[in-house]
Symmetry: C2
């Protein structure tokens, strides 16, 4: 008899009492149990699939951090904080400056999220790498750590975010929190705490210090503060771990207590998420295209037709796309004027995907949006809503001037968990993001170091080789 | 006809619509209106009483920051963060080290709250100075500012905390937030933003960046993280202002939006608090005694009887204290073994107050708790509950060995808004907190600079003269 069957046999009041008892049991010493999980996982015990997904997550994050490194959001944050930087301990990805570890965590966190091109865990809406990777990459430059230890910390930090995120999904997000920042701070504390060698007691304190410093409101979406959220979460979690390491105390029940994080920041909690057996990082996903997920199926279909048929803009009479209704809510801009507007134009997305066979940052630049050949093709795109389509689906039809009609149905867009980017796709994405910033030699070396991170004697090499010349 | 009368004449549904309409009107552009208030207040327009309360708040805060500066909470935080300090721009109060402005805001914020001896706004439970003063004192050392501008920023920062705090009291605190950290970050952003000369637009962004970084859960009470809350709030608000100053954007509706701070962090909001006419700083209060407010009436009565009658321990047969029930919930430790336990012992509080005529940090030290003469007198204290007494009241009776019976009823304990500490009391408290740390000359000079802060050409002198030799 499973739990729900057992409950249904009880009178209602007894069922409520039983449920309350189970919740109390499940929440008992939750922070300590989580601390034990964080400290006990060993790299050598991780399944190969999990290790490999960790490397994919790392490579994808590094590319995004480099790609965002010249964005004005990053340069403004640097200008504001420059007078207060500590010693040049850590690399700013894609830049030549070095800053102290805490500011590196913040600034690299911002740059890795500013393009909205980083990884996504669909079930929780967490972008998992941005709050964790920059904290431990910076720390690894200051305090040497082996590759296996580094990769275990990255993976366990991400799992920590997911467990907390899944426990409070959907109530917490619905309240208005930006979960990447609010759950992210725990991931950073967990990962950094592992690298600092915290005891179980200290890890409880680090989680408590993390609980006291959530970051992120959805109201900030559309402003520079959105990418500040994971950056600050990385910095806060790292600070929490550093403080706990020196014996700075916090409550040992920061998550489960009546006035702890779970109750204060969420109206509901599924404690079972904390004992989840699987490795949730296997459900991490990576964006192949530098725009909102909603328009990815259209882009995927356009690139498929182009590649299969050797399409060029001059061959094309019309592009017809049938889409889920949500697409026209979000990306209906007919004549975008800037790269940013281009990200909210299904017309531009389809045209540039057919013309260029790609949809990276370059294809959503101001120049791409204003290019005559793209603008001309954009006018030939016809978008219609098909309520029968799912959110991850699209139908793309290209009518050629010579009369042919080419069509493709996209069931799961590239980049979804069901149709993931290949390792090669991820490398191509990485190159697209870093080609104007790193030399080809440096790109090659950095890609190798990400794939082989678990073989490194000193994981600090990853960040050091991500500086621009 | 007032608002409630008007509502009562409407059918219920209409009344709900009217109330929703009023709330929408009251919340419209709230962040911008608050930014205007923050930027428009001028020192020369502030009433004398408000200016003087600002000086009292400053003097009290400086004493607390110096008094807490050697606490292990501060030294542990310093040890953890030392490797990451930036240039030596700002003073650590009561210490000889100088650190960067952002870390000074954090560490001075911690030291000023760690003794639980700083100021309190009773209605909201906000400790207002701790998140604001350290941010702008550090900034004033880095970026010269006049005394009047500094004092206006301090007062307006504190009013900002109060307006937000009053709007969400009691719902927000009841949820489990430590309001000193969550409202405090706005006070710091407001005060620092004024000193940086933010435009109205930039001040809206600074408030948005503050909204995204609340600090503090009540679950952390009793751990070092409690005092981390105002320190981090000071640092976060200052960071918000610095970022906004360089054009780092945030939502302009960070407070009032559906997914803004007020709705996400509170289940209820009284928008009228934002247009409050008065200067709420006039209701700030200062603790004369270094322990929880609950036991202050007893201490006040004991000191009154001692001073009036020249009592010494050897004269006393018994001390009888009648107290509000809450006193015995919180301070019932009969035989405290440490200074910290002494703070939770009404017996120790009464005995040491009669024996020493004071109840500062020294009277709650381990040494004081263990002193034979105090321990002996403690055994002669009898505490009884009188449900008729108010929380701020107590009756103290001393029976002398020679048979006399001396009694006093405390209506409002010293330090309450109704019976405030005098300026002289505040100076004595300051000296008690700093006497082991600063020379008498330095204490005198620092006291003068606090009282005369609004006459200083360079407000940075306050912090510079608060360093230990």
């Amino acid at each position: 008899m499973n739990d729900s069957e057992r409950s249904s046999l009880l009178p209602k009041a007894d069922a409520a009492v039983a449920a309350a008892g189970e919740a109390a049991e499940a929440s008992h010493d939750l922070t300590r149990k989580l601390a034990r999980f964080i400290l006990s996982a060993r790299f050598q015990d991780l399944p190969d699939t999990v290790r490999h997904e960790g490397a994919r997550t790392l490579l994808n994050w590094v590319g995004c951090a480099i790609g965002g490194s010249r964005h004005e959001t990053v340069t403004k944050a640097m200008a504001a904080l420059l007078p207060f930087f500590g010693p040049p301990q850590a690399t700013l990805f894609g830049r030549s400056e070095r800053v102290d570890v805490l500011h590196a965590a913040l600034l690299n966190g911002i740059s890795s999220h500013v393009l909205d091109f980083d990884d996504t865990h669909i079930d929780t809406a967490i972008h998992p790498a941005a709050p964790v990777a920059p904290a431990i990459l910076a720390l690894a430059e200051h305090r040497p750590v082996s590759g296996p230890d580094f990769m275990a910390a990255l993976i366990v930090g991400i799992e920590t975010e997911f467990r907390i995120g899944m426990a409070v999904t959907p109530a917490h997000y619905k309240t208005g929190w930006h979960i990447t920042g609010t759950a992210g701070v725990f991931g950073s504390a967990a990962a950094a705490g592992r690298l600092l060698g915290l005891s179980e007691q200290q890890m409880c304190w680090a989680l408590g210090l993390a609980a006291a410093q959530p970051v992120g409101l959805q109201e900030m979406f559309g402003s520079m503060t959105k990418s500040f959220h994971p950056g600050r979460a990385a910095q806060n979690g790292l600070t929490a771990a550093l403080l706990a390491h020196k014996g700075y105390t916090a409550s040992e029940h920061g998550l489960e207590a009546k006035h702890g994080w779970l109750n204060v920041l969420s109206t509901a909690c599924d404690y079972a998420a904390f004992t989840g057996a699987g490795w949730e990082i296997l459900n991490n996903s990576y964006k192949p295209f530098a725009c909102g997920l909603v328009v990815h199926p259209v882009i995927d279909g356009c690139i498929q037709l182009r590649d299969k048929n050797g399409l060029t803009p001059d061959m094309i009479d019309r592009i017809e796309v049938a889409v889920h209704p949500r697409v026209m809510d979000v990306t209906a801009i007919k004549n975008p004027k800037t790269g940013l507007e281009g990200k909210f134009s299904v017309y531009h997305a389809a045209a540039v995907a057919v013309a260029e066979g790609a949809a990276g940052e370059r294809e959503f630049s101001d120049a791409a949006v204003r290019a005559a050949v793209i603008a001309e093709l954009r006018r030939r795109v016809l978008a219609t809503i098909d309520p029968a389509l799912g959110k991850a689906q699209a139908r793309v039809t290209v009518l050629l001037k010579k009369g042919d009609r080419l069509s493709v149905f996209v069931e799961h867009a590239l980049g979804s968990v069901q149709n993931p980017m290949s390792d090669r796709n991820l490398e191509d994405k990485f190159r697209g993001l870093s080609e104007d910033i790193l030399s080809v030699d440096r790109m090659d070396r950095l890609i190798d170091r990400c794939w082989g991170a678990d073989k490194l004697v000193d994981a600090g090499e990853i960040a050091r080789s991500a500086a621009s010349a």
